[in-house]
């Protein structure tokens, strides 16, 4: 569970979890607000060495996020932040200077703040999130000829799903009428106006001061002038609806409410257990959401405590790790010290063997549907990128730029592997550290043989001396992390 709900555990963390028992561990995972998190950096560092929101770039945000994921004692919070980043996928490809990177930072904080909160609250926060208002063009949505982009994706991707559309749960007119409800929801003119090229990055530090929402009663304000105060018909309800009313309708009005619960319950199950779950699993999780008014924490608690399919054999090795999971789990398991600026693959740290080559540059999902994932995490190029990234990680012996690599002696010491350790013991130890179940006998034997092989390919004798550690143990970790068993949850 710790592996699938977090980023893997260090050996000391595993011992702690085992000693306190299952329910206490679930409780610690879920109710993370009570867990002190002293090691995570509170804010990104900008190139001037401090924190200046007008200078903030995607590399700064991503590096900070990776630092948080690696060091956090609240792994579920960061796992859910990634989940929401994919669910409400917004990208720097469009939300860019001026001001866009700041908005992306705010959105990232939003996902952390509401990681396991109430889904209704989160959706309403997204309604007024500057990055989203820009990304899906709602800043240009005005009465008369509305822009349907945000309204359509709110229904299709964020809450109800295409299946609901195909089943007639919502229709084209619903989309067009919902778009009217969001007219006027936008970003204030002035220093933070995205269309303005006047100022590279606005000084405003509070998202609430950036957005403009039409008042209940029309007045002379810009959002009021742009908003359509007429009646709209959505799901058959006729009223002067605004954007938040649309969220409430989706989550209160039947049959939309049940469809939303099913869509979200299924998606979260598929994120943590396995794809295409059985009908009864979806029904069960949807019922939890309906009973708790879309409380995400209650859903996760039920998933980890009461949903037996989460612990079924079917859920073992059933999901490909996303690149971000894979990278953070490798770093944590091996206790590596890394400069997280080199991971995401942005301009300031150009490096091919990074998350972008693995197919998942954070803050830059391909489109509003998020990363396609599934088999599309496993192309030849992406698997080579994973293997090559691990090779860089494990063969780094320098101490440059915060990269001191893997503390090999310390990792070996935890496994009590001394000079007389056998090749079998070394393979078994690293397997237990990096893989969730034993390897097939032939694979295990092949890796034991690798440890024993001389450069000419012949099997020699194995002694865990300095050279063997530096050459063969590093090589073994590379091979293990390139294997299918470590790429899957």
């Amino acid at each position: 569970m710790i592996r699938r709900a977090g980023f893997g555990a260090r050996p000391d963390e595993i011992n702690n979890y085992l000693s306190q028992g299952f329910e206490a561990t679930v409780d610690q995972l879920i109710n993370y607000e009570q867990i002190p998190d002293p090691d995570v950096p509170a804010q990104p560092t900008t190139p001037n060495g401090g924190f200046d929101i007008t200078l903030l770039g995607p590399d700064d945000i991503a590096a900070w996020w990776f630092d948080r994921m690696i060091k956090t004692k609240r792994p579920l919070q960061e796992r859910m932040a990634i989940f929401w980043h994919d669910h409400f996928a917004t990208s720097i490809s469009k939300v860019n200077p001026p001001n866009g990177f700041k908005y992306m930072y705010w959105q990232n904080q939003l996902f952390r703040q509401y990681a396991t909160g109430n889904f209704r609250t989160l959706c309403k926060a997204i309604n007024r999130d500057p990055a989203m208002l820009w990304w899906l063009d709602n800043i240009d949505n005005v009465k008369g000829s509305p822009n349907e982009n945000y309204a359509r994706e709110l229904l299709e991707i964020f809450t109800l799903g295409l299946e609901a559309y195909l089943a007639g749960v919502y229709t084209e007119p619903d989309v067009q009428q919902a778009a009217r409800a969001f007219t006027g929801w936008g970003i204030r003119r002035g220093n933070d106006q995205p269309a303005s090229q006047a100022l590279l990055n606005g000084p405003i530090t509070d998202p609430a001061l950036v957005v403009e929402i039409p008042p209940t009663t029309p007045d002379n304000s810009r959002p009021a002038q742009r908003h359509d105060y007429g009646d709209k018909t959505v799901f058959g309800v006729v009223r002067n609806l605004n954007g938040d009313d649309i969220v409430d309708l989706i989550l209160d009005h039947e049959p939309q409410r049940t469809h939303a619960a099913r869509m979200l319950g299924k998606k979260i199950f598929e994120h943590f257990a396995y794809e295409d779950p059985e009908q009864n699993v979806v029904d069960h999780l949807a019922a939890v959401l309906l009973r708790t008014d879309f409380n995400i924490k209650a859903l996760l608690r039920d998933l980890f405590l009461n949903t037996k399919e989460f612990y079924s054999e079917k859920a073992v090795f059933a999901l490909l790790k996303w690149p971000v999971h894979y990278v953070v789990m490798a770093i944590r398991s091996l206790q590596a010290q890394v400069n997280t600026r080199t991971i995401n693959g942005n301009a300031r740290a150009a490096n091919n063997a990074t998350l972008s080559t693995m197919g998942q540059q954070l803050l830059n999902p391909p489109d509003v549907f998020g990363w396609p994932g599934r088999e599309e995490w496993s192309t030849t190029s992406q698997l080579l990128a994973r293997a090559n990234w691990v090779n860089n990680l494990i063969t780094n012996r320098s101490a440059q730029q915060g990269n001191t690599g893997v503390p090999l002696d310390a990792v070996l010491a935890i496994g009590n592997l001394g000079a007389n350790a056998t090749a079998e013991a070394v393979v078994d130890y690293f397997t237990s550290l990096l893989v969730q179940s034993p390897l097939a006998p032939g694979v295990r034997q092949g890796l034991i043989d690798y440890l024993k092989k001389n450069d000419n390919g012949a099997i020699g004798t194995f002694t865990l001396d300095t050279t063997t550690k530096d050459k063969k143990v590093r090589g073994l970790v590379h091979l293990l992390l390139a294997r299918p068993e470590t790429q899957n949850f």
Partner: protein
């Protein structure tokens, strides 16, 4: 369809492929307990290459091929974004439709009869969703209740492609669902800014080069217990495909040379350049289908500035690519199919953009193409809830390509597409 082996392909391949093909095939299996053999894979196909270009997000077709004969209606419905009539270029094969000036770089090819525009293409019961729509095009199957998760090219590969050549089909950057099916061989190759493969090697510890062969051998260790776990199998197979194709891809990129200049700092042009490098490799890599995608076409707002930029990138990239194919004597056996998931709403919106729509053009480019405009012009007055009506089923385009380019019979095409469709004739 007959599947030639590499050897047969060398003997029967076109002369244009050159003498390089008789170079001895390097045997790279001498690295210990290698489980899968390399470089002995059969190649498949008739030597023709299909390049698929996806314009992701829904390229607005009415501002690509402009309805000149209905210009007043067009201008009336699109007062904010209409392309001025005097700027629209004549389109080869039509007196009623014209070409956006932003595709001017493709006009010489169109004028030479090498561009087919197939009009009002779509599928029945359009869903106006990016993902819903593109999934239908990927699968070649408009049924929404299907459990089939395979792509139409993937199914073609599984039936008629090489079962062993990791480079039988190639996605640039990621791999589209179009190329996937059980049994299909597909590689994804990331591209750098110079049109070279990015990191397409299996690196090992630079300090111990003598251990590299041991590592490469151990990287091929497979779990012979035949795991029922889908993703364990997938990663295992793909890892072996990566190890089997890395050297070939590296060699192909290393030996390519060309005087053709591709646009700078353009990921789309870089991807096309990589396709040219792989398609022109000697000995041939045997790739039958390449896939590349360009995003940004979801122009709900500011279409008047965003779409021209994208069109110019498409046109300048494809022009360079076509020039490169000509320079390498493979233009006669390469075509490019350009598609997008839906057309956009006929009327514009108040934010100088267009919302999601339905029917649209598909474009096919190449020396083997019978240029011109196919299908009736879309009507701007006979609409369905503000959207164009479909006139041609998208699978008619697919079946034409399968039969007339990939070398299959009508019944084989029907096998791939789960039904019989119409050859539209744009490939002779």
């Amino acid at each position: 369809m007959e599947k030639p082996t590499r050897r047969q392909f060398i003997q029967t391949g076109t002369l244009a492929l050159g003498a390089g093909l008789i170079l001895p095939v390097v045997n790279r299996t001498a690295m210990g307990t290698t489980i899968v053999q390399q470089w002995t894979e059969d190649l498949a196909g008739n030597g023709n290459i299909l390049v698929i270009v996806e314009l992701a997000g829904g390229n607005d077709g009415l501002n690509t091929i402009v309805p000149l004969a209905q210009y007043d209606t067009y201008k009336n419905l699109r007062s904010r974004i209409a392309i001025p009539k005097e700027q629209v270029l004549p389109l080869f094969g039509s007196s009623t439709m014209g070409l956006t000036p932003n595709l001017a770089n493709l006009k010489p090819l169109a004028d030479a009869g090498k561009l087919a525009v197939i009009q009002a293409v779509h599928y029945p019961n359009p869903n106006l969703s990016h993902d819903g729509s593109r999934t239908i095009y990927y699968r070649g199957d408009p049924s929404t209740n299907t459990v089939s998760n395979s792509g139409w090219i993937g199914r073609h590969s599984a039936l008629f492609g090489s079962p062993t050549n990791a480079l039988d089909t190639v996605g640039i950057g990621g791999v589209s669902k179009t190329l996937y099916a059980p049994g299909a061989k597909v590689s994804g190759i990331a591209v750098d800014g110079q049109g070279s493969p990015a990191g397409y090697v299996f690196s090992t510890d630079a300090r111990y080069p003598g251990d590299r062969n041991n590592q490469l051998a151990a990287a091929r260790l497979i779990d012979a217990s035949a795991s029922p776990k889908r993703y364990l199998d997938l990663v295992e197979t793909t890892t072996l495909d990566a190890l089997n194709s890395a050297d070939q891809v590296d060699a192909a990129a290393g030996t390519y040379s060309s005087n053709v200049v591709y646009p700078d700092n353009d990921s789309f042009a870089s991807g096309l350049k990589l396709i040219a490098k792989l398609a022109t490799a000697t000995p041939t890599l045997g790739t039958r289908v390449f896939y590349i995608s360009l995003g940004g076409f979801d122009t709900h707002a500011n279409q008047i500035t965003d779409q021209p930029t994208l069109h110019q990138r498409v046109a300048s990239g494809l022009k360079a690519f076509q020039d490169d194919l000509v320079a390498h004597n493979i233009a006669d056996r390469t075509i490019v199919m350009i598609w997008t998931e839906f057309g956009r709403r006929v009327a514009d919106n108040a934010s100088d953009g267009t919302d999601h729509g339905t029917a649209n053009n598909v474009y096919v480019l190449g020396n083997g193409v019978k240029g011109g405009v196919y299908g009736a012009d879309p009507s701007l007055t006979d609409l369905n809830a503000g959207n164009l009506k479909m006139k041609i089923d998208f699978r008619d385009v697919y079946t034409t390509i399968i039969q007339k380019w990939l070398g299959n019979s009508a019944s084989e095409a029907a096998q791939v597409l789960n039904g019989t469709f119409t050859n539209l004739g744009f490939l002779g």
